[in-house]
Subunit: 335 residues, 2 copies
DNA sequence: TTGTAGGCGTTATCAA
DNA sequence: TTGATAACGCCTACAA
């Protein structure tokens, strides 16, 4: 149905080869130039990218694979990735794998089959060394937000350990001695790192950790809700809680509201990630803020670099710094 | 680099045609079957979807185009669209156009060039009859959440008018006489419809509308913030406010928090869309809830139907009902 | 059941 | 500068 180069050739009386060359920036006589332009307009010709991709082995598109489309942290990063990609002439195919490790593999394959020129992924796991296998095939690939043990790959993430360290230290220096943490699941490295920061700062301040103050959630709203309730139900509850991702922060706040807990008087809270939510909550929430724009930028630039063939200092690992945004949800017990 | 059918043919000693047939479900001898399977595994052969698409003129992928990736309402719908698409063997290419009407056109073209089998779009505008033109080319296409004037296309959206009607009626029956509305911009039909509901219910209750109570925002957080402040700064401020989308609802709440307005005692509020936020806010927010799962489902099923060639009752318009979720942010002045 | 051959819409080489 | 022609990897009659 759609017009092809062949049609344009017929229309102009020129050959297919000439049209093709012109389309791709080659030189043709001025009069042919306008002839072709006219034909293209008249026929509404558009290059068939599929056919072109078949020939050139380049699709000028990058696959982006994230755990969940309904997670605004992820989609914001994607949006920033795309900003720089598009400026470099690349487009994006975005998929999510609904936090399902099997689907992750499937979607990854989908992208590979679509012949994308590279893949940026926020990975969950590496079933049977799958990613390692893929990397051997030299498809450019960048991990974002998380790394996978034993997989050598460019990785952009955040200094989770010190993010936690600073947040909890802030609580400690405000006089808090019993600090709860709502941590994420074991299979995600960010959870581990964030927990480590919590542990390390306790060590550095020679504070013993009460294991009952460490609650493990699933990084979703529901589990934040449950964990916070568990913390409040302790015989000896904490005076402050640090929640290690956005969704769980939401859940935690719901629990607080429901139980009518006065923040920060009855409980101090530090949450994670979302600037909007920080201001929507009352009192405004002190949060750890991740540099999402930067994460996206660096990720995009890294994959572009690799696609160009620049394998300088591969595999690279970029650790971006977080920021602790101070608001009003933490009580100063020393003051 | 990657193995092709040719390689499999060589490896097995069979012909390309036989391999192809087997791959596509044709019959081959049992012994050849295992021979081919072995080869496929050994060579790690995967069909090149690009080449296949070129031949079959089908890519088994649907393009999805939304205004903004950072908008959780949109991405949630997409997630639901994908759920049903994937079950039908279709994959998804997701793009956003950053609320930029020119980019919208560009991205749409990108999808067309990728030879997607259909496009689901949350549209903004139709520059120069662009969409109408596209529709003539018979590419299956469905609009979601919004329609475009004078463009005949399957459309799935929400009964915005009655959504507003019911929300505002709820306020009226609680004794509110001065009800502010924070409405969206003129170029989006949902804004218009939601405003209409506000107007109609006033008419039906023979209440005169004070134009100063109608504030026009941009559907973003910032404008919700500004508009709510404007409403509060009126000489004769409203006793209740209805905010017509999620982002503006966030902004409005920020303003309320900042000014320490007691909800619902000093001001009643009805917001839009997000179940999580409704519970994160205190007191919990009464909101209009859109059926995002259903929207996604219907949209996906519609495009699948059209792709199959079923043009029954085209163009269809499905209006889904919203729900008013009652929480604690509205004061009953009659009580 | 299997294989031969032509074509999908491009690009790229090499003559003309 | 232009054009004929052979790929790219796959599918599909049609013939064997």
């Amino acid at each position: 149905m759609a017009a092809t180069i062949k049609d344009v050739a017929k229309y102009t009386g020129l050959s297919i080869a000439t049209i093709s060359k012109y389309i791709n920036g080659g030189n043709v006589l001025e009069k042919n130039k306008i002839l072709i332009d006219d034909a293209i307009k008249a026929l509404d010709f558009k290059v068939n990218e599929i056919a072109r991709g078949l020939k050139t082995n380049k699709t000028m598109t990058i696959g982006v694979l994230i755990p969940d489309l309904k997670n605004i942290f992820f989609t914001t990063i994607v949006s920033n990735i795309e900003n720089v990609l598009i400026q470099n002439g690349y487009s994006t195919i975005l998929c999510d794998y609904k936090n399902d490790i099997a689907l992750e593999k499937e979607k990854f394959n989908f992208l590979v089959n679509k012949q994308v020129d590279g893949i940026i992924i926020i990975p969950q796991g590496d079933i049977g060394g799958y990613f390692r296998e893929q990397l051997k095939k030299n498809i450019p690939m960048v991990f974002v937000d998380r790394y996978i043990e034993d997989v050598e790959c460019d990785t952009i993430l955040v200094d989770n350990l010190n993010a936690s360290y600073n947040a909890v230290e802030y609580l400690i220096t405000r006089g808090h001695k019993r600090i709860g943490i709502i941590r994420g699941p074991d299979n995600i490295c960010t959870s581990i790192e964030r927990l480590k920061g919590y542990i390390r700062v306790h060590e550095d301040y020679s504070m013993k950790i009460d294991e009952s103050l460490i609650k493990k959630g699933d990084n979703d709203v529901e589990s934040g809700y449950i964990c916070l309730n568990q913390l409040l139900d302790l015989n000896f509850p904490p005076t402050a809680v640090y929640v290690t991702n956005y969704e769980m922060t939401l859940g935690a706040i719901m629990a607080l509201n429901e139980r009518n807990v006065k923040v920060p008087d009855e409980l101090s809270v530090i949450g994670f990630d979302n600037l909007h939510i920080a201001r929507v909550v009352k009192p405004s929430l002190t949060i750890v803020v991740q540099p999402m724009e930067q994460i996206g930028e660096v990720a995009a630039n890294t994959i572009l670099k690799r696609i160009k063939g620049d394998m300088n200092n591969y595999p690279s690992m970029v650790r971006l710094k977080t920021e602790l945004m101070i608001n009003q949800s933490v009580k100063d017990l020393c003051g």
